[in-house]
Symmetry: C2
Subunit: 521 residues, 2 copies
């Protein structure tokens, strides 16, 4: 039965032919025919998450490292809802991602059975493309279009809603891959204008980047421009994926705090955007500006996120006559291993010292992790990924997905404890799939960012009652116990020596490992 | 500063004056002024959940037992998304619930900062009432209207979106409670018609109930009708809250499986609905009917969910001249304690034997828990709650909320392992708040329902690859370890004797406790 070319199988076949090889899922009854089709189409690797936030976060991490979409398989509106926060993050990361959301059979929907809900409304908050399949014959074509849509440009979440009878009816009709649109290069006039601006502006110009331009190739182009003109190189506070470390250009990130960002941007007269938009503060604060571009600064868009930022940078190098200019690359500079009781700076030093070559760093270390980008800037070369949409609980799932995409690379997940609890189930998938992820939990046992934000929003001093809402102690979470209970070995570290020992072990051995770095313990 | 009567404080004050005393929350920066207002208004109890699915599920369980709404406080669209599945369940349970969803300041929204999303779209899938506050002066009135709207009838989710500046601006203007609408009683003609039908139909009539009519009072009325006319008493497969056990009428529930439901309903010529609608199958299955009302059966609606089912039943008793009829009440009948290796039946027997008087049972035991309702039907009197919307991960959060509502009663949470993993963070809140919840994990280490459904949807026999998607072993979850790591003591049981010992301890001692009942271990 499962071998029949029904709607579900035609969809799986078409997804595979469109380059989608991994399905992160937590399926239910309405998705069973899709699951059954996986038997007949073994080229699709199915990976189970014990909660949909793991599933969608993994698809985000996978897309960043594989540079192509995975699909998710989600159980109706509630399954999509459970995955929504990490789909929000994926939307902000502009990664390609295909959701397959199961739905009641078309003739069952009007009966309003318990799991019926308005899936489209939920999907619309995160999806650039949504379609509900109408019959088995059109499912495959819908799937091929979903994959093409996911590529954008820029990358986006495409959601295909799959009523159960469109999956189980036959015949399904597999279709060929639909080529995604290629991102347009910006026109020559714009490149020429910006080249002239940069030549004149010198150090009063900054180039603010995000997206694919943060590859080694893109940064090398950016560095040539910087060397040739004096322009500063900046990234957004959070980056989708960035090549960093020794042998790559050093780039500053715009700080999270608006006042620090203002300080960094002060004196910038020309801001050139590549794959991003002008900087705004994460939240509004009473009496503080939301827009961070300094007064009197002119904003120039070299490449919108939907345009080919790499090609634009290459054209700009050309226009500046800088093709022969050598980029400024960082020498390796690893801090010494510190000693004694842990603090955020010491964690950063240990991580920077031990970071292995070609590692993938997933950063959701939040407040306690703030020193890490600075200390790792000249560590061994690595790729770095941040939480992009501010919806916490993305780090461990995304590390999981990145490890699926790059089985030959070590993934280091720098993870705040409060955020980690959101999608703690990710550890189980890491254990089941024997993924090569080492997780460092920044265990400060509180939502430290909220303590900081409390005074920043003008709320004064928190009382004991309020403070308890920012507090993760009473009881303390035992991270080593949580990990072990899901099949991941780990160790607790309260000193820099213990952290170095634990991290070394995790990085040396293959498979998942967790180190709880206890702060102020 | 936090003492100022700003929008946030006026809202908290008004919620309290409207009878809302508990706020389940996981706040963020945009909600900090609401948090600060809690300092100035200590009558509102704030309870932290480490994930929003815990927050919203707790509000559902609280509403069922307190018969009034709690509020949630959620962090923008992603926080609402994380809580969406249990809001879906709350919607299906028709309980009153007030969401306060923080949002960017009104002037910050258009900048499309990372956490910006379409909150209304997300909320619309679960909310019967939605409003975005426009300024600090209207926030309190919006809140009072949200509470009144939450009461329905029937109860529903009311979502108030609170831009940060409407919270921090002053002055806020607290307002009085707005009286909710009272549910109308159905008209006399309808009651008279149904009385005549029941008199003639005898045992070929069934009364299908859900909602407030399943209180001890409502069931007593129902039993008088049954004794007087021969009509059978039924409930939906899942009930919001039901008085059960010794001294209460015995009522059958419509089975989950369509074929078993059809068997139970066969021969029913008249189906009288009270607080529910005609039965439909949970999912569609190829070639099987979705509607479960037998052919030739006439459906009569005594009371819609929005009407006063209790008053309707009282009127029906009157119309039948059955006010003096004694209801048929169950004698206590507790199964003996079994022995040996656990199976689902033995778990049910142990639970039924030990169930303490006046306990609150939250049931999300799924497939392995199917024998429990039968064995507990004549146990010590208790209240019973089911997962209503089919979105798993509601049990432990709802048990948490029920324990907050009823600190003097023991809550017994019967919890499937796969579902438990969805919102496992609930255990931490139980530990922090020292809630009197004993959890039994039905640890069959698989999504057993999907194994069953696989063949029922006509997908044939699952392969090893497919079966692994329904499998929670590799690695096994260590439930005692998970609980301990979040501050909840527990024990593992593989035999009926061990389960009885563990359950006895949990029920005897105050505070949270967990027993992992390992099936087929």
């Amino acid at each position: 039965m499962s071998g029949e070319m029904n709607g579900a199988r035609s969809l799986v076949r078409t997804l595979i032919d469109s380059g989608v090889e991994v399905c992160f899922t937590n399926p239910g009854t309405s998705e069973i025919h899709f699951v059954a089709a996986l038997d007949a189409e073994p080229e699709m690797r199915a990976i189970l998450g014990l909660f949909e936030g793991v599933v969608t976060g993994a698809a985000d991490g996978y897309a960043r490292m594989a540079a192509k979409p995975a699909c998710t398989l989600l159980h109706l509106g509630p399954g999509l809802g459970n995955g929504l926060a990490n789909l929000h993050n994926a939307r902000r990361a502009r990664v390609p991602l295909v959701n397959i959301v199961g739905e009641h059979a078309t003739y069952h929907r009007h009966l309003d059975a318990p799991l019926t809900s308005d899936i489209k409304s939920i999907a619309s908050a995160v999806s650039g493309w949504i379609r509900t399949s109408q019959d088995a014959q059109s499912v495959a074509k819908d799937g091929a279009e979903a994959v093409a849509a996911a590529y954008g440009p820029p990358g986006q979440v495409a959601t295909l809603i799959l009523p159960a009878n469109t999956a189980w009816d036959a015949p399904g009709v597999p279709v060929q891959r639909i080529a995604p649109q290629t991102p347009p290069a910006p026109d020559d006039a714009r490149v020429g204008d910006i080249a002239r601006v940069l030549k004149d502006a010198g150090e009063s110009a900054s180039i603010l980047m995000n997206g694919p331009v943060l590859s080694e190739e893109g940064l090398s182009l950016a560095s040539r421009i910087s060397v040739a003109t004096g322009a500063r190189l900046l990234t957004d506070t959070f980056v989708t994926r960035m090549a960093r470390g020794a042998g790559r250009p050093v780039v500053w990130r715009v700080p999270y705090l608006g006042e620090e960002a203002a300080e960094l941007l002060e004196g910038t007269r020309h801001l050139v955007l590549v794959g991003t938009k002008a900087p705004v503060s994460f939240f509004a604060y009473p009496g503080k500006p939301s827009e961070l571009t300094p007064q009197g600064c002119t904003v120039h868009t070299l490449a919108e996120p939907a345009e080919d930022g790499l090609a634009a940078m290459a054209a700009l190098v050309e226009a500046l006559g800088a093709t022969k200019v050598a980029p400024a690359l960082a020498d390796e500079l690893r801090p010494d291993l510190p000693s004694g009781a842990l603090d955020p700076k010491k964690i950063a030093q240990v991580v920077a010292h031990l970071l292995p070559e070609n590692a993938i760093v997933m950063n959701e270390a939040a407040t306690a992790g703030r020193p890490v980008p600075g200390f790792t800037a000249k560590s061994a070369p690595h790729d770095w990924m941040d939480l992009m949409g501010g919806a916490i609980g993305q780090g461990m799932p995304a590390a999981t997905g990145a490890a699926v995409a790059c089985p030959d690379r070590k993934v280091l997940c720098l993870q705040a404890d409060g955020s980690a609890m959101y999608t703690v189930q990710a550890l189980w998938t890491q254990a089941r799939e024997e993924l090569d992820v080492t997780t460092v939990i920044f265990s400060n046992r509180r939502y430290a960012i909220l303590e900081m934000e409390y005074s920043r929003v003008g709320a004064g001093e928190p009382s004991a009652a309020t403070r308890s809402l920012f507090d993760l102690s009473r009881p303390d979470l035992d991270w080593v116990g949580l990990a072990r209970s899901m099949g991941v070995e780990g160790v607790r570290a309260s000193t820099a020596e213990e952290l170095a020992r634990g991290l070394e072990r995790g990085l040396r051995e293959s498979g998942p490992y967790l180190v709880e770095a206890v702060l102020g313990g």
